[in-house]
Amino acid sequence: MFKRILSLGTVLVLLLGVSVAQGAEKKVAIKFFTGKVETVEWMNDLIKKFHAENPGIVVEQEYQKDASNVIKVKFASGDIPDITTVWDQGFADQGKYLDLSKETRWWSRVQPSIRELCTDLRSGKQFRIATNMTMAGIFYNKKIFSELGLKEATTWEEFKNNLKKIKQKRPDVVPMFVGGKDSWMLGHLIEFMAHGAVKQKYGTMGSRKAFLNNDAEKLAFDASGGPMETFAKRILELKEEGLFNNDFLTATYDNQLEAFATGKAAVISQGMWALSGILEKNKAIKDNIGFAPYPPIMDGTKPVILSAEDSAYLIPAESKHKEEAKKFLDFLFRPENLKAYSEFLKAPSAFTDVNADWGPLKDEVAKALKKGVNIGFTTEAPPGFSGDDAGRMVQELYTGRYKTPAEFAKAYKAAWDRAWNAARR
């Protein structure tokens, strides 16, 4: 009798356990896939708050350094995230992202210019919504500039002469520091300086269309005296004059920030995303950071400054938990959360109802935006030709792989075309 009762009891406990487990499984787990390393910890804290308010939803954040590539594997293998920060024109063309155009509760709060930048040119829809804006340009050490009587450059010659004077008068300082091992930074030089020439010539929408359709005439990648050839010439000029750091090819992003923060580098090319890293290394440099547009590389053009969308969020069309994903984004987009996010990221908010004191460069950036032509990222670049790939070509240029700037320009066009054709299959 005792054994029977014991058996019955055991069965009941097991059944109870199973039903409890099933109850627990009713929680919906949403996968948040990000490539933004700088926001991982902040986002984890936000997720904890979200969980407290939404006990039925579990948000699992996954960060991958190579997110733009890893997501391809995820899509191909059916491991679809519910929210991602990774945009890829090819996926948009294939209908892999959910159309967010009708989410008026969000868009009514977003600055129109950011909405425009978030619009997919091919379909006219908004698949992504950006919470912030970011800027990139020339960071310079104001103290060194003032010591040497230098002014922000508005032409290429002025820019080069500034660097030459720093080299001459302050041999202990690197005139322009580049962390060329991290090829994305070299890719950014192309993105802002070379593509920047195309972007300012044809305007935001005109240039986006030219990149999207690979309009060879407008892009003029292999044209003699075109943006790519001129860019290569400019890089080689600075190299020959010894105006870069000796370890141009082996220094990292972190080395660059360190050199600038400690006053060992006078000029760097960076975006607002680098600001918290610089201040982390040396808070005291806060008042000595100057910010200016990139000098024009081609005669007859103006300085350019990146002013683009940042921290864009997308929901894949195949997500099984779209509503829960939207619920999480609703939570993220609350003004108090976006204010905290902007202040953490040191980037202005794209939402009109968020008033964040986002950083010490606030006034510098406002001035710089008026001095240069505002350009965006090349979001329409073919997915098989990333900023890293472009950066590796600059590494090759620096090592002397290309005999002439024209050869570099030709190789760049060939690589671009190959990726563009592959994406159009």
């Binding site: 190579d66 590539n69 391809k72 594997v73 899509f75 191909a76 090819g90 996926f91 294939q94 892999k96 060329g180 091992k181 090829s183 750091n245 000796n246 370890d247 141009f248 090819l249 082996t250 220094a251 080395n255 073919p382 997915p383 098989g384 030709f385 990333s386 790939d389 590796r392 070509m393 590494q395 090759e396 620096y398 090592t399 792989r401 990726a419 592959a422 994406a423 299959r425």
Partner: protein, 294 residues
């Protein structure tokens, strides 16, 4: 009934092998066949694959970057595989002797092999980095800092550094296999050789090395395979750069796969398979004929 149980008994080993066969089929045969199929398509990883025959293979031999990567991979293997075997054998011969601290010495040599190659690559990066690496600081203190500059900034020197780091990391693994081989040689063989008046080098040439043939075979084959499929150490130290000057075929395959050339990357993977197969088969044939002679 008896017949049935006998039949089952006689075929039991086949049933026992079934799980392994299924796993082999699912994780090896199927991906292999699927890979061969995809290598004949223009799949970009997103759209539906389209059959294009052997075009990917033709494209490979027209691609300068791919051919450069073949050169890098082969050069890396030519440097790495022999050095691993030579130093592995030397360490094994040295550490097979009896002396105080033998176990500690073996552990020190073997230790790098158990550390992740990626972490090892990063450690070496911080040692070798020009201007601010540990080695630079040491050389600077000796007033010879020019010796440590830019090893990773030029394709040729960077490749040599990669070979040395790889050898340093895996020599312990090779040593362990040689040590096992040395310890399996009967002591009588060495005693007989000694009685016959043979010195150390004669014994090494005519007794030790011939009897180490199985260990040599394992080491040569695994080192060829490992060196030709090198990935992690390059990713950690140079990321295949500057430019693509130290990019290996494995890295090229990954980048092509992610870069919307998925079908093409599968074709390159098949080519790499044959690049590895060729020296391995050649060596195994040579070793077999040599074993027959012995």
């Amino acid at each position: 009934m008896v017949t049935l149980s006998r039949r089952i008994g006689a075929n039991l080993h086949k049933f026992m092998a079934l799980p392994a066969v299924i796993l082999f089929g699912v994780f090896f045969v199927y991906p292999l066949l699927r890979g061969i199929g995809l290598s004949l398509t223009d799949w970009n990883g997103i759209s539906a694959p389209r059959f294009i025959g052997l075009r990917n293979f033709v494209d490979f031999f027209r691609d300068d970057r791919a051919l450069n990567d073949v050169k890098n991979t082969v050069l890396f293997a030519l440097g790495s595989a022999p050095l691993l075997n030579i130093f592995g054998l030397l360490y094994a011969l040295l550490l097979d002797r009896n002396f105080r601290g033998k176990s500690l010495a073996r552990t020190i040599v073997y230790l790098p092999a158990i550390i992740s190659p990626l972490i090892m690559g990063y450690i070496w990066y911080f040692i070798l980095q020009p201007e601010r690496g540990f080695l630079h600081k040491v050389l600077e203190s000796l007033n010879v800092s020019f010796l440590g500059d830019n090893w990773l900034a030029s394709g040729n020197t960077a490749l040599a550094v990669l070979v040395l780091v790889n050898v340093w990391q895996y020599v312990g693994m090779t040593m362990v296999i040689y040590l096992a081989g040395l310890q399996s040689i009967p002591v009588e063989m060495f005693e007989a050789s000694k009685i016959d008046g043979a010195g150390y080098f004669v014994t090494l040439r005519y007794v030790t090395l011939p009897l180490l043939a199985p260990a040599i075979k394992i080491n040569v084959v695994t080192n060829i395979i490992g060196s030709l499929s090198v990935f992690e150490v390059i990713m950690a130290l140079t990321e295949g750069g500057p430019g693509y000057s130290t990019e290996s075929l494995s890295i090229y395959i990954m980048r092509m796969c992610y870069g919307n050339f998925t079908g093409y990357s599968t074709a390159v993977a098949i080519i790499l398979f044959f690049i590895i197969l060729l020296p391995v088969v050649t060596y195994l044939r040579l070793a077999k004929s040599r074993e027959v002679e012995i």
